[in-house]
Amino acid sequence: MKATALEVENMTCGYGNAMILRDLSMKIISGESVSVLGKNGMGKSTLLKAIMGFLPKARGSVRLFGFDTTRTRPHNIARHGIAYAAQEQPLFTDLTVRNNLEIALKHPETFDQLFRPITHLFPVFANRLDQPAGTLSGGEQKMLLVARCLMLRPSFIMLDEITEGLQPLVIDNIAEALKWERESHGTTMLIIEQNIQFALKVTDRFQIMSKGALVDSGCCDEDGASEKILRHLSV
């Protein structure tokens, strides 16, 4: 039996005393890729922030790779091998592309070695390392974000609406990169999405979130997965 990567048990949390997530439980096996889908404002981003340690938990617990991280501070959670791409302000726009990629590395001297595969996945960065990240286009910034996650050689990647506002080509590029990562390193992933096609492409199973709770789930390759999701997302 494979090890558990993430285990959330009866977690209740939110901002101040407004609880966004109520009694939420979920489990991800090591090597799995899971998407969480749902409409806006249902608490999807809150879930990632809570796992990452940015929100205090009123009740319940979070375990990452067997460690209890319910009260661990974000930087220590990051050191458990978690790569997280937030939806808002995920890059240091004033720092260069290189600095953005390098800043989280444990051993900066391994930069060149780690960067080599990235140039294959996202050739666009090969000769733009010294450009401030803020001057990249929206799509390039999202790619940089994925690149940063991959360069950490993480055991667990969490992406928050990485495809938001992107061209189909870029979305495909990112999907390819994530597939490559899973094939070559077997990385566990938790992906928040609005884009159903993308989610089905890069994850094994999906969960639907509504009003702070997980209300449905399914396998991405089962028949009618797409329809099942649409039922929840449409009105």
Binding site: G41, M42, G165, Q167
Partner: protein, 587 residues
């Protein structure tokens, strides 16, 4: 007895006994020290009012105290002493520091001034006054100050009773004021200035006036001090003295009025004894005490001294709810009209050409994905300075560049996303402050009756907060807090109500009851409600009209069915729209 009464009466009684009995119990030295301490205590009261109650950290009260003292020193030195000149100096010592304080207030408080900025200004004021005194040469006596002028020829006992009476009057008057309905506004400003503005209170005018009064009071205390001691020195105007006042207030308990009074007197007395025998150790103890209190007991010591005495705290006499007469509420024409409203940050357009109208009885649901500009849209309705183009009319009147507190008076109420209330005030106090623009609160009395419009009473009844009038707002559940904020907004008797994600974080049953309330508000009481909401099902059930906002533009507006069934909205909600739309945008 109630908690608040005990915490007031014991210290008040102590002060009274001290003031009456002092000359019989103490020797000349102690009496001398106490007289000065009483004058300092008056200054400390002003610091407490400004900082403890209103939340404005000021280093500057010494400037006003010193200015008052110099009024005494300058008049008596250069014009001489007589009863006419004494009167002149006394009047000047109130007028000059008062005007100076009003000027400082005008500098420090304006729409959008950061609290940090006001604090910085308060630091500069004593420096400027100090330097002006120093540069005054023989006129102000420069570094040496003014000494040896003739002054009131009272016996020391008389001085003691005069000083004590001044302190008691100042303290009791302040006590009455901070407990009155109007005084609660100070705490409201400290707790949540933004909410105050959106309740129609002009907070910067209130703060400026308060500073003016506090400046005048500190000035009078300074005048008395100068007249008593016969010495007016630049130190009295300086920044160090200003921070000393903060130390007195912080150690004994900010926001507790009698704490600073007693604290100031005690600290002044103790230091007058210890600063001669162990001067450095005493300063050290005071410094360590101050740091520890700030770090560990931000409320100061008094609340911890008083607490054991008031274990059996119960509520004040219950407040009675009553129905208020609503002023003429008919709106002819549109309740709100937005015409080509634009908001941009630099080259980034957050809102583009928004045009929509709302009528009494409308409940308009505003939906759209994250970052569509929903909250920005609300802000453009609530604050005239926010939009960068286009025009807004509320109840037929142009929004112009009006600030929130003026917009509220046009008939707009805004409920924020997070429960935006006054944490430390009780439910009834929160509601009373919300009624300020309708019913002028008393400066001296606490009213036992709270008159609210019928629909507010309805909301309170449905949500159960009418049973919790005496509870501090911070002790309510999240749902109750949302209900409280809604009640506060409605207590303004608005015509247009903005509701920003009012159901976020609520339980299912709470959502249902709040939905019913919204429907009633629009349909029964003819408000024009604008509701920003993610939960389309919720909107679908209660809205009369839906506006779909997407990337800063109105993608669609119309009937509920029309919108909900459209392909466009389906696409947005299932994510298929986003890629298509944006690829266009990127080209």
């Amino acid at each position: 007895m109630t908690k608040s009464k005990i915490s007031t009466q014991i210290p008040m009684l102590l002060c009274l006994i001290l003031v009456v009995a002092g000359p019989f119990a103490f020797d000349t030295y102690m009496v001398n020290t106490l007289i000065k301490a009483f004058f300092f205590a008056v200054a400390a009261i002003t610091v407490d009012l400004l900082w403890g109650y209103t939340g404005y950290l000021t280093f500057g009260q010494s400037a006003f105290f010193g200015a008052g003292a110099y009024c005494a020193g300058l008049v008596f030195t250069h014009l001489g002493f007589s009863s006419e000149y004494a009167l002149l100096a006394g009047v000047l010592s109130v007028v000059i520091p008062g005007l100076l304080a009003l000027f400082v207030g005008w500098l420090s408080f304006y729409h959008g001034a950061a609290p940090f900025f006001s604090c910085v200004i308060s630091l500069v004021v004593p420096i400027v006054v100090y330097q002006l005194v120093l540069s005054g040469g023989n006129f102000t006596g420069s570094s040496s100050g003014l000494t040896g002028f003739e002054t009131f020829d009272f016996e020391i006992e008389s001085w003691y009773w005069i000083a004590g009476a001044i302190m008691l009057v100042a303290a009791i008057a302040t006590d009455i004021f901070v407990k009155s309905d109007a005084g609660k506004i100070l705490v409201a400003i400290r707790d949540n200035e933004q909410r105050c503005e959106y309740l129609g209170l002009n907070t910067y005018v209130i703060k400026t006036l308060l500073l003016g009064v506090c400046g005048a009071l500190a000035g009078f205390a300074g005048f008395s001090y100068g007249a008593f001691s016969g010495v007016v020195a630049p130190e009295l105007t300086g920044f160090s003295f200003g921070t000393e006042m903060i130390i007195w207030v912080a150690l004994s308990g900010r926001g507790t009025l009698w704490g600073p009074v007693i604290g100031t007197v005690l600290i002044t007395v103790i230091s007058s004894y210890l600063s001669n025998s162990i001067p450095f150790v005493w300063q050290l103890i005071l410094g360590i005490g101050f740091v520890s209190v700030i770090v560990f007991l931000p409320k100061g010591l008094l609340p911890y001294v008083i607490r054991p005495l008031s274990r059996k705290s119960s509520l004040d006499a219950p407040i009675k709810l009553e129905e208020a007469k609503i002023q003429d509420s008919s709106v002819s024409g549109h309740a709100i009209v937005m015409d080509h409203v634009t908001k941009s940050y630099g080259s980034l357009d957050v809102l583009k050409n928004i045009t929509l109208t709302g009528d009494p009885g409308d409940l308009i649901g505003i939906i759209g994905p994250n970052g569509a500009g929903k909250t920005t849209l609300m802000r453009c309705m609530g604050d005239g300075e926010h939009r960068t183009g286009g025009s807004v009319e509320i109840c037929g009147r142009d929004l112009g560049k009006k600030h929130p507190e003026e917009v509220v008076r046009l008939g707009l109420g805004r409920k924020f996303q997070n429960a935006n209330i006054f944490q430390t005030l009780s439910v009834s106090e929160c509601l009373r402050i919300a009624r300020t623009i309708r019913e002028r609160p008393s400066l001296v009395r606490t009213s036992k009756v709270l008159a609210l419009p019928a629909y507010v009473l309805d909301v309170m009844k449905v949500t159960g907060i009418d049973k919790k009038l005496g509870t501090a707002a911070k002790d309510l559940s999240h749902g109750e807090q949302q209900a409280l904020e809604l009640s506060m907004v409605l207590a303004l008797e608005p015509k247009v109500v903005l509701l920003d994600e009012p159901t976020a974080g609520l339980t299912l049953s709470e959502r249902r009851s709040i939905g019913a309330i919204f429907s009633a508000l629009a349909h029964k009481y003819r408000f024009c409600c604008l509701l920003v909401e993610h939960d389309l099902e919720f909107v679908k059930e209660i809205a009369t009209k839906i506006v779909v906002l997407y990337h800063g533009t109105i993608l669609m507006q119309g009937d509920v069915d029309e919108v909900v069934n459209s392909k466009l909205v389906q696409d947005i909600y299932t994510g298929t729209k986003s890629s298509a739309r944006n690829s266009e945008a990127e080209k």
